[in-house]
């Protein structure tokens, strides 16, 4: 999980900030350490993503956080062409993937798919998480992207 040489999308995209109420703080702190943290209920062991204050399965408020290894498969994807944000003007297409994590109860996580933005994308293909630190941001943050892995490693 090495950082890419440049950011996948141009500078000036909206920067993520943790919610004022603290709900997603463990996730964003984890990404700064290069760790992918998601929720797992301490009572019933159900996985949960995105974060919420209560476990949807057993209604316990004791929803803990667990590190996952960041391996999954592409559940769905899109290739965006039309620039809806000023920072994307003249940038060209980019790919967003929704990744299912079978080892974490099938929760899904978002991110960009690294590599050629015109590559063929296959639902079900194995991917792994790649951390993209933005240390130069006013409030530093780290994004999580995905890259294709060989099938033999999945």
């Amino acid at each position: 999980m090495t950082a890419p040489a440049a950011y996948y999308l141009p500078a000036g995209m909206p920067a993520p900030v943790p919610e004022p109420d603290g709900l997603d703080k463990p996730y964003w702190e984890g990404t700064r350490r290069g760790e992918l943290m998601v929720q797992r209920c301490q009572k019933c062991r159900a996985w949960q993503w995105g974060p919420e204050w209560i476990c949807h399965a057993c209604l316990s408020f004791e929803v803990g956080w667990t590190r996952v290894d960041g391996r999954g498969t592409i559940y769905s994807w899109e290739r965006a062409w039309h620039p809806v944000h000023p920072a994307l003007k003249d940038h060209g297409p980019y790919i967003v993937v929704l990744v299912e994590l079978p080892e974490a109860g099938g929760i899904r996580m978002l991110g960009n798919l690294l590599g050629d933005p015109r590559q063929v994308v296959t639902i079900g293909a194995p991917v792994e998480a790649v951390f993209e630190p933005h240390d130069d941001a006013k409030v530093p943050f780290t994004l999580v992207h995905w890259k294709a892995v060989e099938r033999s490693r999945s």
């Binding site: 909206p14 993503w49 996580m109």
Partner: protein, 395 residues
């Protein structure tokens, strides 16, 4: 009281419809509030009532035009009902009618206006990103990846659904072609006189795969309004009443789970709503003669029609061909005014008006003897909603 007794079926009707002229976004010559007033006054004129008989308002999608200000502007003797359906997008279009109907049927108010007004030149457009430097909450998990606009939010739901059932792009194309075809008969339509060919569709640019330009709705300025009164009152008024036979709103299990974690992902959000709708109306999909299905994106229409039981997902490639979707003779005439793609994007309230016109026999693409007319509002958001209108013979 059993569920069966607690029905809205046949208790209220849409007795008046009103619109402004529909404009390209940013081109309305009047303020958004003035547009809303025009639509409401026009709906009263259509119904043949004095606007001062209005005693309630219902809207959706965070409409900016405050009912109290409207009541003051119109000099209403008393305001008895002010309702806003939660949720953005067009999912509240049918629900707002249902909320108004519940108020009238329950004796809370007598004459409720459902309205929607949009002047995007005066406010932020839906299809462009708000000029924000940061994103928090669910947006923090979406925006930094360029997952911002409605088209980008919903493309992956459609991509997954099309993958699961082997649905081809031609199915989406047929939906776009049907809307444009019907708009060519409708002088009110923004795309009147601007037909769409299959070749032009295929050559159009990608917005976000799997949506091309013509898979995406317009954005327009204007306003629309409908008037809800009791069935008995509607019979005393001049227009042919369009009775509300059924209405339902909501979404399925954990539809709004953050970061795209809805357990059922490839959905227009109607899998639990559509059965409620049919149960109240006491009819099935085979009885429906004409459908107005909200097109934010054609792929959402595709899933909406499946979830309302018009065909199975596996049959989508065969069913979704233009001939099946065109009035007057298609198997399921769809979006007969041109809809959000080609008449006007009035957040789907123009679809409710078109459904009423079909019951009155006044559509520019009329389905002969239409007695059962459906509206499906706002696929893929939550809550969504849908309704069924009927003529006198269906009561």
């Amino acid at each position: 009281m059993s569920t069966k007794d607690r029905t809205l079926r046949g208790k209220v009707a849409i007795a008046g419809i009103g619109e402004t002229k529909y404009y390209k976004h940013g081109q309305a010559p009047e303020s958004e509030f003035a547009l809303a007033l025009h639509a409401i006054v026009n709906a009263c004129a259509d119904a043949g009532i004095d606007p001062r008989q209005i005693d309630g308002f219902a809207s959706y999608s965070n409409d900016r035009n405050d009912p109290s200000r409207i009541a003051a502007a119109l000099g209403l003797p008393a305001l008895r009902f002010s309702n806003m359906q939660w949720g953005g997008g067009g999912g509240g279009g049918s629900a707002a009618v249902g909320n108004a109907a519940a108020a009238v049927a329950g004796g809370v108010a007598d004459c409720v206006v459902v309205f929607r007004a949009l002047a995007q030149g005066q406010f932020q457009r839906f299809g462009t990103a708000p000029p924000v430097a940061t994103a928090s909450g669910d947006a923090a998990l979406n925006f930094p990846y360029g997952l911002i606009s409605p088209a980008q939010r919903f493309a992956m739901r459609v991509m997954r659904f099309m993958h699961d059932y082997g649905i081809r792009h031609e199915a989406q194309r047929a939906i776009a072609l049907a809307s444009y075809h019907h708009a060519q008969s409708n002088p009110r339509a923004v795309m009147y006189g601007r037909p769409l060919t299959p070749e032009a569709y295929d050559a159009s640019r990608w917005i976000v795969e799997p949506f091309r330009l013509y898979d995406c709705c317009l954005e327009n300025d204007g306003a629309a309004a409908v008037i809800i009164v009791s069935a008995d009152r509607a019979r005393e008024l001049k227009p042919r009443p369009a009775y509300l036979l059924g209405v339902a709103q909501g979404s399925e299990y954990r539809n709004a789970a953050r970061s795209h974690n809805a357990p059922l992902y490839g959905t227009s959000s109607f899998t639990t709503v559509a059965p409620q709708l049919y149960e109240m109306a006491g009819i099935g999909p085979k009885d429906v003669q004409v459908v107005q299905s909200y097109e934010n994106f054609t792929g959402g229409v595709l899933m909406s029609l499946v979830e309302h039981g018009f065909f199975a997902a596996e049959e989508a490639n065969d069913f979704l061909v233009p001939d099946n979707l065109l009035a007057p003779k298609g198997r399921l005439p769809l979006n007969t005014s041109g809809g959000n793609l080609a008449e006007c994007y009035m957040h789907g309230l123009e679809l409710v008006i078109e459904a009423v016109r079909q019951i009155r026999g006044e559509s520019t693409s009329q389905v002969p003897d239409a007695e059962l007319s459906m509206v499906i509002s706002g696929p893929m958001v939550t809550p969504v909603s849908s309704l069924i209108l009927g003529g006198e013979a269906t009561l």
